[in-house]
Symmetry: C2
Subunit: 328 residues, 2 copies
């Protein structure tokens, strides 16, 4: 399976995390996809034992090398365009999330997917985190009974953000960028994308000189089933905090309450409180996608979840932008 990589702005590192587990993959070509220098990408490939061809023009790379799969992690605002070009060439797509920064781009993407043979997943790596992976398994097995309420939290250290984070046009916004993980947990734990409506709120003030970037955002989803799901995101985690992110989920159901926080899983049910030891998942994001395509086993993410997640992020943002409830 021939792989090309475009860009390294986000989490293309996922490729290398499990590249050795899928020796069928040959890293054949790289392009930064923009004016970003390519030397870091080159070094990372060399460290993994590959000497891919280098291209200034990512389209030329796709046309010349005709890869089976492309990792897309160029400028955020070009995700959609790059994905569409890959769909047109029937190249499978491993793309940084969100795969589109606007709803119109998302629609163009979905149209391109409909007439393509290729698959797409975005980099929702937290599905593969031991605590979230294990917790979800337990919830799907009925640990909390029927799910009624979900609360998700993503809190990040701000740190020093590259300049492209400072403008909506190149960053995309905090609900799609940070919130996507939390919104993906809703899909992952709940197992269905039956969103009914969403209300969002966000704030750009007090963002420590980061231009347009929203320093905080929250949103509240009503699901058609009556499940209520909230998401809170912020960049306010102090630099002195012990970890970069403070990722949490709390799921309350008719039979119990399960939480993930600080990498720990706590369940309260009819038997009282217990801690569930996170197990190491038997899969990783990139290799899971490869093995799915190879027909070895179904992966944790599919096209439908990828599109549903992106739509949910963008509608939450539309609500936050307009102050109105947005219906799915």
């Amino acid at each position: 399976m021939k792989l090309c990589c475009i860009g390294s702005r986000g989490h293309w590192g996922y490729v290398f995390e499990s590249l050795r587990e899928v020796p069928c993959v040959e890293l054949a070509g790289i392009s930064s996809g923009c004016e970003d220098p390519i030397d870091k990408m080159r070094r990372r490939c060399a460290d993994a034992g590959f000497t891919p061809r280098e291209f200034n023009d990512w389209r030329n790379m796709l046309d010349e090398l005709r890869p089976d799969m492309v990792c897309i992690d160029g400028p955020f605002e070009k995700h959609a365009e790059m994905c569409i070009e890959a769909f047109r060439r029937n190249i499978h797509i491993f793309c940084e999330k969100p795969i589109a920064l606007t709803l119109s781009d998302l629609e163009r993407l979905e149209q391109a997917a409909a007439s393509s043979k290729s698959r797409i997943v975005s980099m929702v790596g937290l599905r593969y985190d031991p605590a979230f992976y294990t917790a979800r398994k337990r919830v799907r097995k009925g640990a909390v009974g029927k799910i009624k309420l979900i609360q998700c939290q993503k809190s990040y250290k701000l740190g020093k953000r590259p300049a492209f984070f400072h403008a909506r046009a190149t960053y995309g916004g905090t609900l799609p960028w940070v919130g996507s993980h939390a919104i993906d947990w809703i899909l992952f734990f709940y197992g269905d994308a039956d969103f009914h409506s969403v209300f969002g709120a966000q704030s750009r003030e007090d963002n420590f000189g980061n231009g347009d970037m929203e320093i905080t955002a929250q949103c509240l989803f009503r699901m058609k089933s009556g499940v209520i799901a909230s998401v809170s995101t912020d960049y306010l985690r102090p630099a002195a905090a012990p970890t970069h992110g403070d990722d949490r989920i709390r799921i309350a159901g008719t039979g119990g309450v399960l939480e993930v926080s600080g990498g720990k899983i706590t369940l309260i049910d009819a038997n009282g409180t217990s801690e569930i030891v996170p197990e190491m998942p038997d899969r990783k994001l990139f290799s899971d996608f490869v093995l799915d395509i190879e027909g070895v086993r179904p992966g944790l993410v599919d096209n439908a979840a990828t599109f549903a997640l992106t739509r949910a992020c963008l509608l939450a943002q539309e609500s936050a932008d307009t102050g109105k409830v947005v219906f799915f």
Copy 2:
């Protein structure tokens, strides 16, 4: 100061919690305010050393005894009417929350207050909880810098609820009943009632045979300042959980993040993570109100906060009922 008590459906126990601290108060009369038997009220008064007169008709009690203050804890749906009658007689009011179950009742109440000499506070006892009291003090002193984001949680054990909980008309709804505490924390910690808009969601399904009662509800407030505040409430805490309630707040600001959970206070700021030991407040809900009225010192709650809280609860519920954003 002559005190009468009407009803014991909710938290009138707050009176006895600090009655000894204000020996100026004489408990002169009691009425159940409805068909509820009065014997439990009588016993509780006797335990506290009082033998109040008993009245079938609470209006007669107010007219005959002309108390300085009345504790109102009769049927929820009569809170507003009872408060209005007290306002008309210039009797100070210590009322179970919410003081009104509908917006029209709240407006009538506010009109009655405007032409009365008396004060009102509702039973927002969690302001006086050691952890929340101490945490708020630290936040008001700048522990998290400028507040940007608030998340509140109230999770209760369902237990066996009296029949009046089963109908909206007599219960009022979960956002006003359970949510009021959490919404009050927003007012308490944030210090201002500059609500801009709210979106709410609630679910009556899977409520274990409790009629109309919402088993879950969440809401999201936008404040005019850009602060975003969410509230999650549920009755899904398992019976085997170690405590009745799971009360939490998380406040993220420009200088740190403070949380109250499980009675503990955790602060992360520029110095890293620290635990703040909750101090015993120098006041309790009922005596604080009495001492405020006596001119000894200002209490933690005032008329404005009481009305603002009730309005916020009812507008959150209106949003959940209609599925629309409601503006303040």
